[in-house]
Symmetry: C2
Subunit: 326 residues, 2 copies
Amino acid sequence: MALKTRFTETFGVEHPIVQGGMQWVGRAELVAAVANAGGLGFITALTQPTPDKLREEIARCRALTDKPFGVNLTILPSITPPPYAEYRQAIIDSGVKIVETAGNKPQEHVDAFKAHGVKVLHKCTSVRHGLSAERMGVDGISIDGFECAGHPGEDDVPGLVLIPAAADRIKIPMIASGGFGDARGLVAALALGADGINMGTRFMATAESPIHENIKRQIVANDERATDLIFRTMHNTARVAKNGISQQVVALERQGAAFEDVRELVAGARGRVVYETGDPEHGIWSAGQVQGLIHDAPTCAELIGRIVREAEEIIRGRLAGMLAGV
Amino acid sequence: MALKTRFTETFGVEHPIVQGGMQWVGRAELVAAVANAGGLGFITALTQPTPDKLREEIARCRALTDKPFGVNLTILPSITPPPYAEYRQAIIDSGVKIVETAGNKPQEHVDAFKAHGVKVLHKCTSVRHGLSAERMGVDGISIDGFECAGHPGEDDVPGLVLIPAAADRIKIPMIASGGFGDARGLVAALALGADGINMGTRFMATAESPIHENIKRQIVANDERATDLIFRTMHNTARVAKNGISQQVVALERQGAAFEDVRELVAGARGRVVYETGDPEHGIWSAGQVQGLIHDAPTCAELIGRIVREAEEIIRGRLAGMLAGV
């Protein structure tokens, strides 16, 4: 069984299920497992310390799967930006044919990718940014709601409203991101006008996810209320797992603390360390509200198979049954 | 065509579409129009100045429809509370058989309604409050997400996550509230595990809605970003239409203003006046993010008919077509 949508057609994958970029998590093992299960996984470029290391990671992933996969390139404002053009060239040279972009002003990168026949899926958090990316010539939009881990933007519009609002205006294929973890969410996204879903937190809690088992257990244990929004006062909001450090940041921001004080607190508390050491209290790490719907850490094949199978049951069973008055 | 669910069965209505309580809006004309269209409308008890006026409003509604309708009784903390027990008695005496409760500690009211064979639908904003109401013996839950107009609570969990999280634990029929305005939302809610939807803002912009035409036009004009959350600092958050006054409140709260200052600003700016005079800048008035999906002000019969018809098209057409690979 498969769900055929404009997204699966345009991007050439079996299932409309995407594992988008995740800093420190989007590595070859996870991406290849998603690809082998018929989903679309993305290696996170900036998790690799250099463009050459990214070339090695892409080669490593290709050794693990014959199926298509992509690379995420997120453009963040920075005083000392990473060498984006070199990372981009590494992606193109490696023959990767699908890229997920995120962040501001991707036009230069979109142009370069398109010139080399690379399909671009652009992730953004508002209808206006989706329309802007569509005008830039991207091939698909990943529209990211308030529920999501990482950067939800500053509009605070959840998927139930954001997805149909975007579907009313965006013409190219669109997937929905933020708050998705199971078949119920997939069918909801398709009903709301999306052509597929992106999942982040859900793929963090899988057998092939390259993070410490304790963190997977913490995601399973956490409920939908166990996240915090930090960096609101800097207009750079991030949704992270609620812990002692995130609560300190929230309290500092509420008191009107200076940027430097908040930054200092966070600088010593990196997500990478959490993922490696397995201490969920050791740093700031990303997790979305969907952790309230995550109750296990299956393989990617089990997870994707389950979602597609249950989506069919919901459509042919539950929903059609309501129409039939069963 | 009809959608038969546990909600329509338990509450004895044709369509799983509810127009829940709305202060100053939930009057006989609107409620009767919803009932005549096969939905379930609720008269808002406290919009009537006295229990006797509520008896008259119920009689007026009954003259307008032969179909079932209900009354909303919202219990709000107050220094000088309205005579809740007298309003409750007016409902029971009038022979109304469905009540929507909202607010804190409804046990006393639930017991009284149940003793008189009145079915109770309890509206709440979290899984734990839904479970608590289920234990109190209510007949259904209306679970209200972060998107909603009015009081979303303090958890900030949107429907995409809240509905399935609630469906995993609540056993009695459950409808979803907040962010719903069209067939896409209805099918999404049913897929996520709900047995129907509640709509507020969408019913404000209907022909039979007893508010000034200018306010209906403003709802149609507003997009999904045109709301504000006020009273956050008082832990009594309300989502309202964004206007000059709501922005002043947000700014005052951000500055850490005293409760009295905020209250003074709001006291002179009542929603009732907005609805009567038709000046959307004149006061604080409720509207949800779903206004971004509202593009007209049809009759309730047109609206409900359209939603049910399009829901069937989504289920039998769009979703089944994706499975068939059409």
